[in-house]
C-alpha cells in the first residue's frame, strides 16, 4: 500500500515536470507549428547558468530568476536567428534544424560547463513530508514543483485568454497573414512565443534539477517523455499538456516500479502510439480529426 502510494506520488512530481516541459512544447507548437526538439538542451543550458550564479555565492532565488531570464532570452534569440528562416517551410527542415541545435547545445555545454555530475540546490526540504506518522514520497520541493507548474499554467492561460498580447499571440499562431492585416506584428509575437516557451522549459529544467544531479545530458529523457505528454494532451492545449504530463508521469512510475525500469521508454512509446492511433487529436481534442 505504502509502495503504491509512494510510486504514485513519485510519478506525480515527475509528471508535473513532464507537464511543464510539454507546456513549453505546446507554446512553440501553437505559435510556429514546430516541435522544438532542442527544448531540453536549451533548458539544460539555462540550468547551468543558474548553477554558475549559485557557485558565485548568490542565493537560490537569484539563480532561479537568472535561469528564467536567460531562458527567455535564449528562446528569443534562437527563434529570431535560427528558426525564423525555416518557419512556414517544409516540416522536415524545422525538425532537422532543432535536432542540429540539440547536438550543438549539448556539445557546447559539455565544453563550457564540463561533462560531469553536479548537484543542484533546492530551496525547500528534500525530505519527505510526514502524514499521520508515516513519511510519504512528497517533499517540500515536490510541493513547490506541483504548485509552480500549476501557477505557470494558470498564468499562461490568463495571458492568452485575458490580455491583448495573448490575443495577438494566438492570432499570429492561427492565421499569421490575417493577423498582419489587423496590425499584429507577427514576427514579434512568434519571438515572444518562443521566449515564453523557453522560459517554461527552463522552469522544467530547474524543477527536475532541484535537489538532484545535473550534467549536460540530464534532460535528454525528458525530450521523449515531454513530447509524449504533449501529444497525449493534443499538442495544442496547455491544460492538455499538464494533464498529459501527469498521466504519463504516474504511468511510467508504475512501469518502472512494478515491471522494470528498462521498459519505461518502451511504455512511453506504446502510450504514444495508442494515443496517436485511437485519439490522434489527443485526450482533449475539441475540433474534429486533426492531421497528425
Amino acid at each position: 500500500m505504502q509502495q503504491l502510494l509512494n510510486t504514485a506520488l513519485g510519478g506525480l512530481t515527475l509528471g508535473m515536470v513532464y507537464a511543464a516541459f510539454a507546456l513549453a512544447l505546446v507554446l512553440i507548437w501553437r505559435s510556429t507549428r514546430i516541435v522544438n526538439f532542442a527544448q531540453a538542451p536549451m533548458a539544460m543550458v539555462t540550468t547551468f547558468v543558474a548553477l554558475v550564479v549559485v557557485d558565485a555565492g548568490h542565493s537560490y532565488w537569484l539563480a532561479f530568476a537568472a535561469a528564467l531570464v536567460s531562458g527567455l532570452l535564449l528562446g528569443a534569440v534562437v527563434e529570431r536567428l535560427v528558426v525564423r528562416p525555416v518557419e512556414g517551410g517544409p516540416e522536415i527542415n524545422a525538425v532537422i534544424l532543432t535536432l542540429g541545435l540539440f547536438i550543438v547545445l549539448h556539445a557546447l555545454a559539455a565544453v563550457v560547463f564540463g561533462n560531469r555530475y553536479r548537484s543542484f540546490p533546492a530551496p525547500f526540504g528534500v525530505r519527505g513530508l510526514e502524514v499521520g506518522g508515516t513519511t510519504i514520497a512528497l517533499t517540500g520541493f515536490g510541493v513547490f514543483t506541483v504548485l509552480a507548474v500549476l501557477v505557470t499554467m494558470g498564468l499562461l492561460l490568463a495571458l492568452f485568454r485575458y490580455t491583448d498580447v495573448g490575443l495577438r499571440m494566438r492570432a499570429s499562431a492561427f492565421n499569421p497573414e490575417v493577423a498582419r492585416l489587423l496590425g499584429v506584428r507577427v514576427g514579434r509575437m512568434l519571438t515572444l512565443g518562443w521566449a515564453l516557451a523557453s522560459l517554461v522549459g527552463s522552469l522544467a529544467g530547474l524543477l527536475i534539477a532541484g535537489g538532484s544531479l545535473v550534467h549536460p545530458a540530464y534532460m535528454d529523457s525528458v525530450v521523449v517523455y515531454g513530447f509524449v505528454a504533449a501529444v497525449l494532451g493534443g499538442l495544442d492545449s496547455p491544460i492538455g499538456a499538464v494533464v498529459g504530463g501527469l498521466l504519463l508521469g504516474v504511468a511510467l512510475s508504475f512501469v518502472s516500479g512494478y515491471v522494470g525500469s528498462q521498459l519505461v521508454a518502451l511504455a512511453a512509446l506504446v502510450i504514444l502510439m495508442l494515443v496517436l492511433t485511437l485519439r490522434p487529436g489527443g485526450l482533449f481534442a475539441q475540433a474534429a480529426a486533426r492531421r497528425v
Binding site: D164, L167, R168, R170, A171, F174, N175, E177, V178, A179, R180, L181, L182, G183, V184, R185, V186, A287
Partner: protein, 234 residues
C-alpha cells in the same frame, strides 16, 4: 482618397500588375473588376503591403503607403479584408473583433464594440461563440465588422460575395452602401460578380492581364456592351 500610380508587381518572372493607375474617391465605392487572373487580388495585396511592388506608388489621403509594412496599415486608416474572408476560426467572435480594434491604437475602445454590435446585431448575440460555428454570411459580417473596429477611412474588400447565397450578398451590399453613406467610408471592392458590384459601386476599374482597360463611372461601364462582353462576362 486612394491614389494608385503606375503600380507594377509580379511573382518571379510573371507580371501580375503592369503600370496600374487609378483613384478611389473618398466616400465612394470603387469596384475593381476583371476575369480570373486579371490581377485584382494582387492589386489589393500590393496596396496593403502584403506583396511588394516592383514599381509605382500608392497614396492614401496624401501619405505614401508603398514601402509601409502590412501591419502598420490599420494605423494609417486602411483595412483589408482578404479573399476567403480571413475569420480566425479558433478565436471567439468578440476576440476577432477586439483584434480588429487593437490594430489601430493598440487598445480596444468599448464604444467601437458597441457600435459594431449595433450595426451587426447577429454578432452581438454570438459574441462568446467560436467563430468556427458561424455561417458564411455571418463570417462576412464579422470580417467587415472587424475591419470597422479600426475606424478605417479606406476599406479593401476582396470578393465578399464568394460562396454566399444571393439574398445574403444583397444584404451585405446593402449594409456596405449604408456604411459608405453614413460614415463617409471609402471602399475598394474587388469582385468577379461584376453585375452586382456595379450595382452598388460609384465607379469601376476594369483590369485585364494586369493592365487597366477601362476606368469610368459605374453606370457608364454597365452600359458599355462591348466591355461587358469582353471583360465582365455579363
Amino acid at each position: 482618397m486612394l491614389t494608385v500610380t503606375d503600380l507594377s508587381a509580379g511573382y518571379g518572372p510573371v507580371r501580375a500588375l503592369d503600370g496600374v493607375s487609378f483613384t478611389a474617391d473618398r466616400g465612394r465605392v470603387t469596384a475593381v473588376l476583371g476575369a480570373n487572373g486579371a490581377g485584382k487580388t494582387t492589386l489589393l495585396r500590393t496596396i496593403s503591403g502584403l506583396h511588394r511592388a516592383d514599381r509605382g506608388s500608392v497614396e492614401l489621403d496624401g501619405s505614401r503607403l508603398d514601402r509601409v509594412a502590412a501591419e502598420r496599415m490599420p494605423a494609417l486608416g486602411l483595412a483589408h479584408v482578404p479573399e476567403g474572408r480571413g475569420v480566425i476560426t479558433e478565436l471567439t467572435v468578440e476576440e476577432n473583433l477586439r483584434l480588429g480594434g487593437l490594430g489601430r491604437a493598440g487598445r480596444v475602445d468599448p464604444a467601437d464594440l458597441e457600435r459594431v454590435y449595433t450595426l451587426f446585431p447577429v454578432l452581438a448575440d454570438r459574441r462568446a461563440a467560436l467563430a468556427h460555428v458561424l455561417s458564411g454570411g455571418e463570417r462576412q459580417m464579422l470580417v467587415i465588422a472587424r475591419a470597422l473596429m479600426a475606424r478605417p477611412t479606406m476599406l479593401l474588400l476582396d470578393e465578399p460575395s464568394l460562396g454566399l447565397a444571393p439574398r445574403i450578398v444583397a444584404q451585405i451590399f446593402e449594409l456596405l452602401r449604408g456604411l459608405v453613406e453614413s460614415e463617409s467610408l471609402s471602399v475598394l471592392l474587388v469582385e468577379q460578380n461584376a453585375r452586382s458590384a456595379l450595382s452598388i459601386a460609384h465607379r469601376g476599374v476594369v483590369l485585364n492581364l494586369g493592365r487597366v482597360v477601362a476606368d469610368d463611372d459605374a453606370d457608364v461601364l454597365a452600359a458599355d456592351d462591348q466591355l461587358r462582353h469582353a471583360y465582365l462576362g455579363f
